[in-house]
């Protein structure tokens, strides 16, 4: 059974879509990630045009981050003030990102740029997860516990425009969070991701936020950034496919909840190692597509219909 996607202008198997959404949702629920970094490349693999994949993936992340934020909010683990400051940067970043995106579409380089960005990103995430999880597994075997610093003091604390963030127990300049938000905004708009895996370490290491507040705050921020990106894509690149989004949202929300349940039954490091391998697998596929000589070195795209 297939469904015709009105914006992508092709028909896809409905079960393929649902299982794709379900699997990505499952993984995102399990690891507490938005899953955009897997969703976008997988959509491209099944033949969805790159621009539609990016725009629609952003829409899907809105749904999964809402589910995630609710849980953290109830436990009081969301720093709304910090989220708001990050968003100021993210708002301008995403406008720039969508602008870059449509320029790349116009000169025909969007596919290449997306591939390279994704390859870099996925390799980075995959390797760091693999190293980190194997280290934890090794330490567990040796029965060592790892001590971490609670607070980092660095250049971010010496800049002007300092503001007190009570929830995070921080007194820092608003410039670093705005810059971080700006960068995440660009990445979100061009890649169709929430950017949690960049945002979370940046919040811990650059801003010195307490780890407990980081996930909830980043999820809260991601809802808005991906919502902005969704609207920007709908109005400027016209690439948002609401039918595709509906099926992905539905299946990924269910998948995510199942993933959360499964995560409670499994040990963190093993699943992280597993995800790392999946991520590296996707990165390898992208790399091969870039490096192996394609069967057809020409590609055609319709610019406009003539009436």
């Amino acid at each position: 059974m297939s469904i015709y996607l009105p914006i992508a202008e092709l028909s896809v198997n409905i079960f393929l879509l649902l299982s794709l959404g379900g699997v990505v949702g499952f993984l995102s629920g399990m690891f507490g990630l938005g899953g955009g970094f897997l969703m976008t490349p997988l959509l491209i693999f099944i033949g969805i045009p790159t621009n539609v994949a990016v725009a629609t993936s952003a829409n899907q992340i809105v749904a999964s981050s809402i589910s995630g934020t609710l849980g953290h909010w109830r436990q009081g683990l969301v720093d709304f003030k910090m989220g708001g400051v990050l968003l100021i940067g993210a708002f301008f970043g995403s406008i720039l990102g969508v602008w870059i995106f449509s320029k790349l579409v116009a000169i025909g380089q969007i596919d290449t740029v997306i591939s390279i960005l994704y390859f870099t990103l996925l390799t980075g995430i995959g390797l760091s997860m693999l190293i980190e999880s194997s280290k934890v597994i090794r330490d567990r075997i040796r029965r060592k516990s790892v001590k971490r610093k609670i607070h980092y003091h660095n250049w971010a604390h010496r800049l002007p425009f300092k503001v007190r963030f009570y929830k995070s127990k921080l007194y820092i300049s608003i410039i670093p969070p705005i810059i971080i938000g700006f960068v995440i905004g660009i990445l979100s708009a061009t890649m169709g991701i929430g950017g949690a895996f960049i945002l979370i370490p940046a919040m811990i290491y650059f801003l010195g936020m307490p780890t407990s507040k980081v996930i909830g705050t980043s999820l809260f921020q991601i809802i808005f950034i991906t919502a902005i990106v969704t609207i920007l894509h709908a109005t400027t690149t016209f690439a948002l496919d609401a039918v595709l989004a509906f099926f992905l949202v539905l299946s990924s929300v269910i998948g995510a909840q199942v993933g959360v349940l499964a995560a409670n039954k499994l040990r963190g490091e093993e699943i992280r190692a597993l995800l790392a391998i999946i991520v590296l697998g996707v990165a390898t596929k992208i790399a091969l597509d870039l490096l192996v000589e394609p069967n057809e070195i020409f590609n055609l795209s319709v610019i406009r219909l003539v009436f």
Partner: protein, 263 residues
Amino acid sequence: MIKQLIILFYILIGTLTPSISIALVIGSDQEEIYIDANFSGEELLVFGAFYSDPSQSRDSKSDILIEVVGPLEDVALRKKDSYFGFWLNSKSVTFRDVPGFYYLSSTSELTNEFLANNQIGLLEKKKSEMIDWSSLTTDWGGVVNEKEKEEFYSALIRTKQNDSLYKQVSDEIEIIDGNLFRSYIDIPNTVPVGEYNVNLHLIIDNEVSQEYSYNFMVTRVGIEEAIYSFSKNYPFLYGLISLIIAIIIGWSGAEIFKRFRKV
């Protein structure tokens, strides 16, 4: 069913034009192809008869040619080149007013001279290409030499063929009882919407004896049309609604499963 219809045509033609012995009688099963949520391509049936007199039968000198030309579009054709081991898009050529769909079918293989002489379709005069390049407006960008231009021309045809959008065949017309013909034309799910032209030619002794043309439309209907035009006319609202749906599903999904976990 088809045969009955054709016989009906015979009777009509017979009564109207009793003196003509050779007639191209044709019909089609639809005047419109609708793209709805279940659309996954369609088969267009074209049928007819060689002669208005049903007792006559087709000889080896008579042929049928069916040509289907889709709506025109502008396309960008990009070539990948290797840079430091990476295959990246490099040169780009824009072709204007090329058909989004092109189908040429005949009962026997037709020579290119014949097609060129009769100015049928988009066939190039020299080779077995399907486009008459001289009629194309092309934006060559960085492509300057003739050899490379040829390469782009054939790549245009090839990529369209790979997407099942261009096709030239001589074995898809079925002949029944020596006089009737029938052909199922594959309309893939990637076809552009718009007006399609079907041109039929009855060829006798390498001469076009009869011609008949008609149009059909490929249109989006129902929810597909509603969503498509809504997204173009009210992009902000469209994005917003898609967002709200995501928010509702995301929120309720979390609530529903929370209850599950408590139980």
